[in-house]
């Protein structure tokens, strides 16, 4: 999928000339930089408790890091420290190896895509003008901006001819969010900050927007810091998840799988939810499993597509009365059978693996496996 090679080529060379750091952008690729938070803390004057305490984590270039936690955990504050909308009181933040504190704040922000929950689209400007904002601030030529707006609108699935001249008031909530994302991507920033971008959308459209965004990210591969209070969204969207607890302390920073299998402590385990075993099942699709061979001509109680998650398949099994189901591919050819036993096996195998987090936490893996087995046992019982 093309990512407007011309615009990016110009982009890299223009910035190289200006002496800006090259964020490892090869020809024709979209820029992404590594983000490092090093001992970051934020204390507001006159407040006894700090809002953020000694937060350290590194987001590799091109990855999505989700900041998640209960309200008051400082996740939005942490995000706003990165683009200096809030001033840091301790520690440092490095983007592409360079401290954000050394740079002019305005210049820094033009290099960082910023998406907020209420979109903040300028009501008095058209969709096209909104998207063109940062390139305009950076002094791009008219043609370049025009081409970029066109390209981005196609990327987010809005017809440029029809929609570029519309005003935000004329768009649906979902469309507005997409324009907000396009606007943040306009200047090809090496980093994107997204603060609960889909929070104000209804659940059905939210799932769609999340999926669309994931496929978008697969194409542009930006470094993204994504804030949410919804653990399910975090699991779905994040390459890595940073769980913050009250008082802005990092509880765990790891891949979704690791957090679900080996939660670092009581707090994380609770936050993730007692159903984390089932949540884990949503991380694996059926085509990644070793399925059972079909038993001759005997068909399962239902058919499940190979692309479905194990969790969805479990749901089908339960509805079908606990019997095995047939897994089929896109052309409806039988790939194998899925049983409750297989699912139980999967859970045990995962739980048995040693913890592989960045912080090397050895968590409640064994307990988790037991819980998983218990769940499956009970399901079997109910099915009989």
């Amino acid at each position: 999928m093309k990512t407007a090679d011309t615009a990016h080529n110009e982009g890299s060379s223009a910035f190289a000339k200006a002496g800006e750091p090259e964020y490892g952008a090869a020809q024709g690729q979209s820029r992404a930089a590594e983000l490092e938070l090093s001992g970051v803390s934020k204390r507001y004057a006159g407040q006894r408790e700090a809002a953020i305490v000694d937060l350290s984590l590194t987001v590799p270039a091109g990855e999505v890091c989700v900041l998640v936690g209960p309200s008051g955990s400082g996740k939005t504050t942490a995000m706003r420290l990165i683009n200096r909308l809030i001033s840091i009181t301790g520690g440092d933040i490095l983007l592409g190896g360079r401290s954000v504190l050394e740079r002019d704040a305005r210049e820094l922000r033009r290099e960082i895509g910023y998406v907020i929950q209420q979109t903040g689209l300028f009501p008095h400007q058209t969709v096209g003008e909104n998207i063109a904002t940062v390139p305009g601030l950076l002094g791009w030529s008219k043609q370049r901006i025009g081409a970029r707006v066109q390209e981005l609108m196609e990327l987010i699935g809005l017809d440029p001819q029809e929609m570029a001249g519309r005003y935000p008031a004329q768009l649906s909530g979902g469309q507005r969010q997409r324009v907000g994302v396009a606007r943040a991507l306009a200047a090809d920033p090496p980093l994107m900050l997204m603060d609960e971008p889909f929070g104000a959308i209804d659940p059905i459209n939210r799932a769609r927007l999340q999926d669309e965004f994931l496929s978008l990210q697969a194409k542009v591969k930006k470094t993204i810091v994504f804030v949410t209070h919804d653990i399910d969204e975090a699991i779905k969207m994040g390459d890595r998840i940073a769980i913050l607890r009250d008082g802005g302390r990092l509880a765990q920073y790891d891949t979704p799988r690791e957090i679900l299998i080996h939660p670092a402590d009581e707090f994380v385990a609770e936050f993730v939810g007692a159903d984390r075993a089932i949540k884990r099942l949503s991380l694996t699709t059926l085509d990644e499993l070793q399925l059972m061979a079909p038993d001759g001509e005997k068909l399962g109680a239902a058919r499940v597509p190979a692309k479905a998650s194990v969790r969805d398949a479990l749901s089908t099994i339960l509805t079908a009365g606990g019997e095995a189901v047939t897994v089929v591919d896109a052309q409806d050819r039988v790939q194998g059978m899925l049983t409750l036993g297989l699912i139980e096996q999967l859970l045990s195998q995962e739980a048995a693996q040693p913890a592989q987090g960045a912080d090397g936490a050895d968590g409640a893996g064994s307990t988790d496996g037991a819980v998983a087995r218990a769940v499956v046992e009970q399901t079997r019982e109910a099915a009989r």
Binding site: L85, R109, I112, I116, Q117, H124, A169, Q170, L171
Partner: protein, 246 residues
């Protein structure tokens, strides 16, 4: 019983209905409205007065707007400024025009400066309030987005806040313009320009109905016309306000 004319007007001399050699029956009998008098005296009396009136208003609103804009921007940035500004402008607004004109004559003299100072004072409260309210009504998240994208304060003000504050600002301008047009009819008491002059002259004669209606009518038409123009201007400047529903 008409009071004696103030010195500024005495010099202009009274207008006599049977003016010059043209005195139609209509005029002599002081009928409701004599078109012949109007067409005959348009160039010498009515049109100059209208021009002067427009000028008086334009100067007052322009200066008033400049001052109010500066004050509103300051108050937007530093809240403390708001209260004293409102108090002072309200105080000025409350003083009846006739009195304010005379009060200014003492230090400044019976000239255009007194007239304009007074007229400007009447615009301040309205414009200051409207501009400030307009700025404050800009949604928070829009400002957050502007700042987050890397706009400087000045850029955010010029590209986002002021355009979005336009409806309230124009509403204030409409009120100010119409108010000043009406008030400027009294300017003649200290400075003989504006549509108040023919009105006053007509009062001294009878009163002379045609001139009264012509001058008074012109004032009203001027005000309504200016108001309509400003509404059109606002519509033209805020295309996004009308675009609703996709």
């Amino acid at each position: 019983m008409t009071g004696a004319l103030t010195p500024a007007i005495a010099a202009a001399g009274p207008v006599i209905p049977n003016y010059g050699s043209q005195s139609s029956k209509c005029v002599v009998h002081n009928h409701f409205f004599c078109t012949d008098w109007v067409s005959h005296n348009w160039g010498s009396i009515l049109w100059p007065a209208l021009r002067q009136h427009v000028l008086l208003t334009a100067i007052a609103v322009a200066i008033g707007f400049a001052i109010s804009l500066a004050l509103a921007l300051a108050a937007h940035r530093y809240r403390v400024i708001e209260r004293p500004t409102v108090l002072i402008t309200t105080f000025l607004y409350t003083i009846p025009a006739l009195a304010l004109f005379e009060l200014l004559v003492a230090p400044v003299g019976a000239n255009i400066y007194s007239a304009e100072i007074a007229l400007v004072s009447y615009t301040l409260l309205i414009l200051f309030r409207n501009i400030l309210t307009g700025l404050r009504e800009v949604p928070e998240e829009v400002l957050d987005a502007a700042e987050g994208m890397g706009m400087t304060r000045r850029q955010a003000l010029l590209r986002v806040e002021l355009p979005l504050a336009l409806p309230a600002i124009v509403a204030g301008l409409r009120i100010a313009v119409v108010t000043i047009i009406a008030l400027a009819t009294i300017v003649y008491t200290i400075y003989d320009k504006g549509l108040g002059v023919p009105i006053h002259a007509a009062l001294g004669e009878g009163p002379f109905k045609t001139e009264l209606i012509a001058a008074g009518g012109l004032t009203v038409l001027l005000a309504l016309g200016a108001d309509a123009l400003l509404v059109l201007a606002q519509r033209a400047l805020t295309p996004w306000a009308r675009a609703k529903g996709g």
